[in-house]
């Protein structure tokens, strides 16, 4: 057994918390039933690692087996690391008929042409998502299995989610993806977060959106104690309206758990009392960052409760509407790097 395989296994076991270790190993085909039964999960992590290393020797596991185990763990626990959203653009006519086996072959061959040493593993998850694990090497070194890139793509959609990608590998991956999905270009979707599920749901619109309709669905009954029926009745109208507006902007029910939104301002400083700042030629640069365990939920609450005004400002509603959480805001008018034309008031 190779030393590198041992290292990959060691590193992986260290990453997996003991409670998850059992379920992960059970889904893996590398161990016999008897071997699985002989595992004692009450032991320390160190002892478990030693045991698995000896099994590794015994069963003659290769790196392929270990990466398989790693994929099982990552697919089951996707909300780790920083995930970035990408969007494929300009589909070709046959982009909609790309199917799995064809995609697998194409992706592997395209990436193989670009990088000499690369190890690609593709697996389809039950929710129709295609998971790709890439271990990169270069012309002189073998694939590094300790720092793999994970890519998640839903076939026939223009969205790709990536984690663990360096800027050097980005153009290579982009090219392989663009060619194998039959598109012309790929762009950064300006959406990132620690939870893959959240950014996926946001980009693929897999959350409950609310639209204006003649037949509003009955709101769930609230068990709030009515302190003053008259005041309640008076406030019910505007309250319900605010709630509707908030839901139209951010969605209803469980919202994707986005944790941050960043606004990079490159605007003119406007304040008549402060002339030195106002008369500066260079744009006034600052970064505004919103952070929360569930940012969209917080924003929806702000709008529904009246803390933020309704209709919701496009600056905030753009997060779910455009599916992004990184914005560069420049002054309206001639500006070279205006990624988002939005007047700041």
């Amino acid at each position: 057994m190779e030393d590198s395989t041992r290292r990959v296994l060691q590193r992986l076991i260290r990453r997996i918390p003991t409670p998850q270790l059992k379920t992960t190993l059970e889904k893996w085909s590398g161990m016999t039933v008897a071997q699985r039964g002989s595992m004692d999960y009450t032991q320390t992590k160190w002892a478990l690692t030693e045991k698995l290393l000896s099994l590794c020797e015994e069963n003659d596991w290769t790196t392929k087996h270990i990466t398989e185990l790693e994929m099982i763990y990552v697919i089951d626990n996707p909300n780790q690391g920083m995930w970035h959203g990408f969007q494929l653009l300009d589909p070709e006519d046959d982009a909609h008929s790309v199917e799995l086996t064809q995609f697998k072959e194409q992706f592997k061959s395209h990436l193989g042409e670009l990088v000499r040493h690369v190890s690609v593993k593709i697996k389809k998850h039950t929710d129709e998502a295609v998971w790709i694990r890439i271990a990169w090497g270069d012309s002189f070194s073998r694939p590094n299995h300790l720092k793999p890139t994970y890519v998640v793509h839903h076939l026939q959609t223009p969205y790709v989610f990536v984690t663990g990608l360096t800027s050097k590998q980005k153009p290579l991956l982009s090219q392989a993806l663009v060619l194998s999905t039959r598109h012309h270009t790929i762009k950064d979707a300006n959406l990132s977060g620690r939870k893959l599920t959240a950014i996926r749901d946001l980009l693929m619109k897999q959350y409950q959106q609310v639209f204006p309709t003649n037949f509003p669905s009955p709101l769930a009954e609230k068990n709030e104690t009515v302190s003053n029926p008259k005041i309640e009745r008076e406030q019910a109208g505007p309250g319900a309206h605010r709630h509707q507006m908030a839901c139209e902007a951010f969605g209803d029910g469980m919202l994707p758990q986005l944790q941050s939104a960043v606004y990079k301002l490159e605007t003119k400083f406007k304040d008549h009392t402060n002339r030195t700042m106002t008369e500066r030629d260079e744009p006034f640069k600052c970064i505004v960052k919103f952070e929360s365990t569930n940012l969209l939920e917080s924003l929806r609450y702000c709008a529904a409760s009246g803390i933020a005004s309704t209709p919701v400002t496009p600056l905030l509603s753009s997060i779910p509407l455009k599916g992004r959480n990184y914005f560069v805001i420049t002054d309206n008018g001639p500006g070279p790097s205006s990624q988002m034309h939005q007047s700041q008031n």
Binding site: H96, E128, H154, Q156, T157, K205, F211, T213, P311
Partner: protein, 295 residues
């Protein structure tokens, strides 16, 4: 000649009469017949009562319907009047009211479907509209999709919940949305309804046919690979259904793969191929099962 024959005739007639007279004494069978008839009459009477009440219910339903229709046009003017008439048997009347409302809603739904089936709501004080496209398959209402559009300066979709694998933007470009929104909505509705139909079929297959393994499917439900098992020989047959026309609920191509080539060359499996291309998947599988072609 005649005399002799009548003589014999009289005797035989007499004996016949005697037999008849004797048999008349056996009244019981007749009595049971009477009983039968009585029971039948009773049953018919019960049926008559049933029909009568049915007619009554129907009439009161009709009355309620007309009053409901009137209400919706005259804004609840005559509501009070109707309430008085009906409150003697409150539980029944409530049920009747519900039934009347149900038939009304059904009729409205049908009418809505007939005129195109889109709900259009003005938004932002007339600066935009929100269109909803309903989907249904085999009479079952499924997902409703919405598009919020800006009207000015040009018609533009600003928000929607159409799944990402439905090529909304290319449909909008192709269909020339600016000049012919109806045609665009029509195509979009075809795509969405076909998608909903395929998805529903797949759901039904998974529910109704546990013995058939779904090997492969995609989010758009445009490619489907199933595994059949032939009874007796237990041969596995791989069936690939390709729905390359995304506006259709039926596959454009059906392909079988099997190790035993003779099976696929049989007339039965040729028939199965055309069956799968012409009938909804879950029904076709049902037929194939009944014919004994698959487990």
């Amino acid at each position: 000649m005649e005399g002799t024959s009548t003589k014999g005739g009289v005797l035989s007639l007499l004996s016949l009469l005697e037999v008849q007279a004797r048999s008349r004494r056996h009244v019981p069978p007749q009595r049971s017949r009477v009983k039968e008839l009585r029971a039948e009459a009773e049953a018919l009477r019960v049926r008559r009562e049933q029909l009568k009440t049915e007619i009554q219910t129907h009439q009161s339903l009709q009355r309620l319907r007309t009053s409901l229709d009137r209400q919706s046009t005259h804004d609840e003017e005559e509501e009070e009047e109707e309430e008085e008439e009906m409150d003697e048997d409150s539980e029944n009347s409530q049920l009747l009211k519900l039934m009347a409302r149900h038939t009304r809603v059904k009729d409205l739904l049908l009418a809505h479907h007939l005129i195109g089936g889109y709900d259009i709501v003005k938004t932002r004080h007339g600066k935009g509209v929100c269109v909803s496209v309903a989907t249904a398959y085999e009479g079952v209402c499924l997902e409703t999709y919405n598009l919020e559009m800006d009207l000015k300066p040009t018609l533009r979709i600003c928000r929607h919940n159409v799944p990402p694998f439905v090529p909304l933007s290319s449909l909008a470009e192709q269909g020339d949305m600016q000049t012919d929104i109806r045609a665009f909505l029509e195509t979009l509705s075809q795509h969405l309804n076909a998608f909903a139909g395929r998805k529903q079929q797949l759901k039904l297959v998974k529910e109704q046919h546990k013995t058939i393994e779904v090997m492969e499917s995609n989010a758009l439900c445009s490619i489907l690979v199933l595994m059949f098992t032939v009874p007796k020989t237990k041969t596995a047959i791989l069936c690939t259904l390709n729905y390359s026309d995304h506006t259709a609920c039926l596959p454009a191509r059906v392909q079988f793969e099997c190790d035993v080539k003779e099976i696929l060359e049989s007339t039965e499996w040729r028939k199965n191929c055309s069956l799968l291309m012409e009938t909804p998947l879950h029904k076709a599988l049902m037929t194939m099962k009944k014919m004994g072609n698959i487990v």
